[in-house]
């Protein structure tokens, strides 16, 4: 970007806006984490203490007691496989749309867009009936398949605009040099649009991780529950523990994703600053 103009004042101005934004973002997050470790006596007492005096890990104890770790494992499995299969489907599809002007490509895109305009509740009941008829109710592969329906339309739409901005000459050059289409995708397209793919991948993983309605309805057995479903079902019998348990669950569900994101964040920044298109 352009060199710093107006030097110091600009710096301070930008930094302070950022400060406000960061506190707005982290504030509720802090509150969530603090509640998770709060002692139950301090949940509604007045005045509320921003920094709890009494700590308690009872929330996490309850969470793990009912299977929090199993739920997390399940969420990981579901989200990872969804990510994997989604990318396998999305990248070639986006490539096909951006490179070939095949008849029906417009319609295809419009269908993908139109699909997302439908409210989710409509698909739940027919899918449930279908899955039951096929005997696929408590079944992970079937569930992942339904996740794909949620996770591939938007990435295809976004990724094809990314691919669009990569000049075709690169493809053609490589093919003249003897690459097949697939090699072009693997060697050229993916590396060049890696930031975009990482963003899409993040999106897919998070969608799968936070998905609540499908596993709620399509899964019945306890051991198969993913984290979001498990947390929502945490009902403390009587008392304010319900808040602590829920926040403990929420914290627990967010921490691994944040760790992942922090790892990819560095990659993301590297990818962005290397200025892909300048090469």
């Amino acid at each position: 970007m352009l060199e710093k103009e107006g030097g110091l004042t600009r710096q301070i101005f930008l930094s302070s806006i950022t400060g406000v934004l960061i506190s707005l973002i982290l504030g509720p997050f802090y509150w969530m984490v603090v509640t998770a470790i709060r002692n139950v006596n301090e949940v509604t007492t007045l005045p509320v203490k921003f920094f709890p005096r009494l700590f308690s890990l009872a929330g996490f104890r309850d969470l793990f007691g009912v299977g929090g770790l199993v739920w997390m494992k399940n969420s990981f499995i579901l989200a990872s496989f969804t990510l994997l299969f989604s990318l396998l489907i999305v990248i070639p599809a986006a490539y096909a749309v951006s490179r070939f002007n095949f008849p029906g490509s417009r319609v295809y895109l419009i269908i993908l867009l139109a699909i997302r305009l439908f409210p989710g509740a409509l698909t739940v009941i027919p899918l449930y009936k279908a899955l039951h008829t096929l005997g696929l109710l408590d079944n992970y592969p079937a569930l992942i398949f339904t996740y794909l329906g949620l996770s591939i339309p938007i990435p295809i739409l976004i990724l094809q605009t990314f691919f669009h901005s990569i000049p075709r000459e690169l493809d053609e050059q490589a093919m003249i040099d003897g690459c097949s289409r697939l090699q072009v995708i693997w060697r050229i397209i993916i590396p060049v649009s890696l930031p975009g793919i990482i963003a899409i991948g993040t999106y897919i993983f998070i969608v799968a991780w936070n998905e609540f309605m499908y596993p709620l309805i399509f899964l019945q057995s306890d051991k198969l529950k993913p984290l979001q479903v498990g947390i929502a079902g945490l009902t403390a019998y009587y008392g304010p523990e319900i808040y602590i348990d829920r926040m403990a669950g929420a914290t627990f569900s967010v921490v691994p994703v944040i760790i992942l994101f922090l790892c990819f964040n560095k990659y993301l920044q590297k990818g962005l600053t290397s200025g892909a298109l300048k090469e």
Partner: protein, 303 residues
Amino acid sequence: MKKMTRVAQRGNWRKESIVPYLYILPSLVVVISVLILPILYGSYLSFFDPILGIKGMKFIGLLNYKKFVTSPEFLNSLKHSLQWAGGAILGGSIMSLMAAMLMNERYRGRNFLRGVILIPWVISAVTVGLVWGWIFSGSYGLLNNILWRLGMVKNIDDILWLSNPKLVLLICTAIAVWRGFPFGAIVWLATLESIPDQLYEAAQIDGANRFNRFRYVTWPELKPAFVLVNIVGGAAVFNSFDLIWVLTKGGPLRYSEILATHLYKVAFWDFRIGAAAAISVIMFLITLIFAVVFLYLTHRKEA
């Protein structure tokens, strides 16, 4: 040499003509089986009167639609849905753009912002609703606690936020913006980053000020993504129900009832599947109209 390439090219062409279809085939299989067929079946049900749990249903034509469109809930929910989605799109766009442009500059603290920006989006809607619902709670919310301590209110629950008919939808919209703007921000940041510096330098040399630089250099590059994110994001917000459900369940007194929460009630409180399907179709038509209008408005200038 030339002969070979020509022959090779012709062979390639024949093979190439089915390649795109092969590439999109898996996605079509998924979309058709998981989305299109259920939607078609659901819409088909909207012309009948099935109730979950009972066998048998009768064809009643457009009765579900008529009943719903003439009900008082329809206009109320529609109004709120439009306010909710419109507010979220507008607020979300402004926030996303600002955040993206902010993160595109160089200054201290930028990297930290980039590191934490996605946090609101990462947290599930249910959790966001629970945490913010608590912050805004009348009796023991964080906000009221702060106001009370500062002496700005006499009783801690003098101001009710989510129980206040006038404020409730506004607050829900603000929370939705808080949750949704990071995604737009990172998509546009990636796009902004891909605009070569030379374009800006050239524009600056030509004497364009900051606003014009944005208008003629930044905006055209952003536009495809902007349109996409807003249509899809807008529809998602319009249809989304998790957040408002957790915050207010459409209350109090239906002051925050949107079409999506009403749909849920008809489908899962009344178990009237046909009526619910009719409402979904109506919601779809509304988002379709919005998408078409939006596309038209943003692409008209190009023509």
